[in-house]
Symmetry: C2
Subunit: 290 residues, 2 copies
Amino acid sequence: MTGVRVGIDIGGTKVEAVALDASGAVVARDRRPTDPGPDGVVRSALASVRALAAEPASIGIGIPGMVEGGVVRGAVNLGIAELPLADVIAAETGAAVGVENDVRAAAVGASHVWETPTIALLNLGTGVAAGVVVAGRLLSGRGGAAGEIGHFSIDQAGPACACGQRGCIEAYAGGRALALRAGMPAAAAFAAAASGDARARGAVRDAVSAAASAVEILALSIDPPVVAVAGGMARAGGGLRDELAGELDRRAASSPFLRELRIRDRLRYVGDAPLPAVGAALIPEQEPHG
Amino acid sequence: MTGVRVGIDIGGTKVEAVALDASGAVVARDRRPTDPGPDGVVRSALASVRALAAEPASIGIGIPGMVEGGVVRGAVNLGIAELPLADVIAAETGAAVGVENDVRAAAVGASHVWETPTIALLNLGTGVAAGVVVAGRLLSGRGGAAGEIGHFSIDQAGPACACGQRGCIEAYAGGRALALRAGMPAAAAFAAAASGDARARGAVRDAVSAAASAVEILALSIDPPVVAVAGGMARAGGGLRDELAGELDRRAASSPFLRELRIRDRLRYVGDAPLPAVGAALIPEQEPHG
């Protein structure tokens, strides 16, 4: 195909790609394992492009880490310290290329697919972060930190976070933190907690409470009609949906103010839909809010 | 004058009004005491209009409480349960009238005067709330709750808040809460804390910590270039500026991530400039983000 917009979501283990036609509909998909390292990531992305389009109109890429001006930094899980990904892919393909952080790209995708111009997408993965879209445009922020609520401390005396603070939301609700605190993989902790393992139960309770705080922060700062929930924790923790809804209900029970906001009813789970890749395809034409 | 845009900020004790010319510059000001109650508020607003313009092009009003569709609700300090203020003023003047919550109007004013299209304004008054402007447009939110971070709980076991929750930011950093906890007027608590009063010291420390959390929430969700600080607490507490800067520095000291965001350097104090009235004058032409 020619003229399509290709979107590529590069994850730690797999690369998910889509081609969008002019109307924004998905007309082709490609899925392949991720080759790690800078060269591997470039090779994987180019393979996805070739599988989907001979001459794509544009290529958008979502990738973990900090992204600024098409340069990716600190994508630890991919073995990338610094990579000028947009320039490399543009040189190889001749297409217009846009690169964005994967959580932000997913927020753009959710906004597009669910037709919700303002939305926050909370990613509960190894780390915790949100992507925010206001009136159809990504909120980037002065320091590139819009949506970095995983590093808001809910307990200044809490467990240490990789960022240097204590008690960050991520230090409870991130997959790595939950695994450490529960003494088992995050995916197993929900089941273990349900069957009475006290340590897992405590870790899960704290993770759910921190995730609820993240949702509340988004509701009380941005107040979007939809808070999308994505990431490995949301998928792997079968119990997360019920526990998170229960915790938000419990908090609202004491507060007419919170009840009226119906925060729980705004949650929507991303599941396995290729929203991050769809969002990535729209990145080249995005003009983020400053 | 004719053709000017009149902006009116209705506070608990005084009404501050400005007239803006076509360029957005303040060409006249009026200041008078507030008559309380629905009739008093209407009378005060009309007196301000008449003092400034024979035939204003538009009238904008900022007022405490919830404002929706020109109707004010729950402006307790003004003795207003419910008042269709926009309709009443429009009927009396024949002008186009817009009414908005006063904190939000102040955020629009700060964005305009300081030429910062994206900004958050944190109001530390009797209550605690923020107004958020993104790319020149007010963020209103689905539930009208954008910026209501005063009701984020930083300690689920903390002191009771009027909203029904416990440990809300407002339950520490609001002027009413600080006065209760310190056992003296909020304005006196900073001085008493500085001269060694243990109870005042504890209350002030908690208030400053909660205010720092509010600033961090704004920085990590919206990431605006400027966080304006306004309200009686910011003016009355002579010590607040230094204490808040010190608390943000202390938190950043442990975290390279926070340090890089330079949150403390984004603070800017509103002081006595008529930003709320200027912002109110711009409300009739605002189209808030949904």
